[in-house]
């Protein structure tokens, strides 16, 4: 079964801007691939449609067999619990420490505290931040903050991880590190979709690439 499939999906924002025009593609379960294109090509919009942050105006978006474009609002939280999202703006909370930031998805989904704490430590260990669990995210370097975002995205053991420009503000070494983490998740069967405009990175990883140009796949 395809993890993600788009068929003839269009998205027009209020005001008339057409971000996506008749997009069709499928991502197999366990696949890792890149989404690229110039800025404003519609990368972020496409990712938002997968997580039901935006709704398509036409076409069908299926995620794990569920029709996201026709989903009841009350069902959306349960869809998102199965997705690991790494946001472009990071969206870290600076009123709590590293540990609490990572544990939040588990608290939101109602995991018992003890179990949640264990899984949080495991996720922090995977991204190499276990020693910094008491630190405030402000005190972390750019690369560490991005690793924190990755830990938060995977702590819930999602079947699909979606990252929007996860290496945008990082130097090559840090970017490499982050990508290696995504590669490791993919190794254990997680479907990974990374939006990036870093052509060097894409060339190095030799994965399937979806290229958007003015809202169309090329």
């Amino acid at each position: 079964m395809a993890a993600i499939s788009f068929s003839q999906v269009s998205k027009r924002y209020p005001g008339g801007f057409e971000a996506l025009k008749g997009i069709s593609f499928a991502v197999e379960s366990g696949e890792m691939l890149f989404l690229t294109g110039h800025s404003g090509a519609g990368k972020t919009t496409l990712l938002k449609l997968i997580a039901a942050i935006e709704r398509a105006n036409a076409g069908t978006v299926l995620v794990n067999g569920q029709n996201v474009s026709a989903m009841r609002p009350a069902a959306i939280p349960y869809l998102r619990r199965n997705l690991g999202l790494v946001f472009q703006g990071q969206k870290l909370l600076y009123d709590r420490n590293v540990f609490d930031n990572v544990m939040l998805p588990l608290i939101v989904t109602g995991q018992p505290y003890r179990e949640a704490a264990k899984r949080t430590r495991a996720a922090l260990d995977k991204v190499g931040l276990l020693q910094r669990e008491k630190a405030n995210p402000v005190m972390l370097s750019g690369g560490e903050q991005q690793r924190l975002c990755v830990a938060r995205a995977v702590v819930n053991r999602p079947s699909i991880v979606i990252a929007d420009e996860p290496t945008a503000s990082l130097d090559a070494a840090y970017a490499e590190e982050i990508m290696a983490m995504f590669g490791a998740f993919n190794q254990v069967g997680v479907t990974v979709l990374v939006a990036t405009h870093d052509q060097q990175l894409i060339a190095k990883w030799r994965k399937r690439v979806l290229t958007l140009d003015h809202g169309r796949l090329v």
Binding site: A51, P77, L104, G110
Partner: protein, 302 residues
């Protein structure tokens, strides 16, 4: 179920921490709500105290029935029999014209005036004590007695009771109106407090929605916050009203010494206090509900 309980516990703890974390704001909010609620609560308290007072004072309403000056002894006897036979009459006392004049003469200064009169100007009269205290009975009997032969005039002593009754009705209406208006104030205060709280937690709420929080999860802590604010405000209102009544009672005690009265204002019963607290809590919850419904829509991702 366990997750649900865990989140309730967590929301409650977070709300308490949030209130304790901003003690000054919490104090001011509590005072604003408390002052708003103390007014109707204090008013209600006064009414509750005045109502038995009006009942006590009007316990023995009387009608004075004056006979015509040409009424003979036999007429008076007939009227007395009729008065006694009327339903709703508990006692009839005859005040003869001579007795009335003698009574009047005892009033200082009146003896000289009366001495100048050639004849006794006073009529015979009956003082009728009524069995019931309600104004309707008094009115009905007044009308009925007026139609008796040889009765020239009936005077009800219940006029002031009616006035007090009307005043109390006005008081009740005022307290009810105050209650409604200031209840709205409570709703408005919690509405705004929670709006501010939502704005400061904007990032957290948005993130929680993105990582799979349900709407109920997002709303829960705010419901706790609103209800707790209402409850704290209710407690403050009771404390303020209690303080005011204690203060008034101290003055009443001094007056009591002068006038030989034992009258004190009673405070609300435990049940009434519990009802007031439950009401305040509910109003806080309503304010929270309105605020959350209004403002969470704005941060909902699409």
């Amino acid at each position: 179920m366990r997750a649900w309980l865990q989140h309730h516990r967590l929301s409650f703890a977070q709300t308490l921490a949030r209130l304790a974390g901003a003690p000054f704001a919490t104090l001011l909010n509590t005072l604003a709500i408390g002052a708003a609620l103390a007014l109707p609560l204090g008013g209600y308290c006064l009414l509750v105290n005045l109502e038995p007072l009006s009942r006590n004072l009007s316990a023995e309403p009387e009608l004075s029935v004056f006979l015509a000056s040409d009424a003979a002894k036999s007429d008076a006897t007939a009227i007395e029999a009729q008065l006694k036979a009327t339903a709703g009459v508990s006692g009839v006392r005859f005040v003869g014209r001579d007795a009335a004049l003698a009574e009047l003469k005892r009033t200082p200064g009146m003896a000289e005036v009366i001495a100048t009169l050639r004849q006794n100007p006073l009529p015979d009269a009956f003082v009728v004590t009524l069995a019931g205290t309600d104004a309707a009975l008094s009115d009905r009997l007044e009308q009925q007695f007026k139609t008796l032969p040889k009765v020239s005039h009936v005077q009800a002593d219940s006029a002031w009771v009616k006035r007090l009754d009307a005043l109390l009705r006005l008081g009740r209406a005022t307290v009810a109106l105050l209650g409604v208006l200031l209840g709205l104030v409570l709703v408005a205060v919690t509405f705004n407090t929670i709006r501010l709280q939502i704005l400061t937690q904007n990032d957290e709420i948005e993130l929680c929605r993105l990582i799979g929080a349900t709407r109920a999860y997002i709303r829960r802590p705010f419901f706790y916050l609103g209800s707790l604010l209402g409850l704290l405000g209710g407690l403050a209102a009771i404390a303020l009203a209690l303080g005011t009544i204690a203060w008034i009672n101290r003055d009443l005690a001094q007056l009591g010494v002068l006038f030989g009265s034992e009258f004190r204002l009673q405070f609300l019963s435990l049940r009434e206090m519990a009802a007031a607290l439950a009401g305040a809590l509910t109003l806080g919850w309503i304010g929270a509900y309105m605020s959350v419904s209004e403002h969470l829509r704005e941060i909902e991702p699409s």
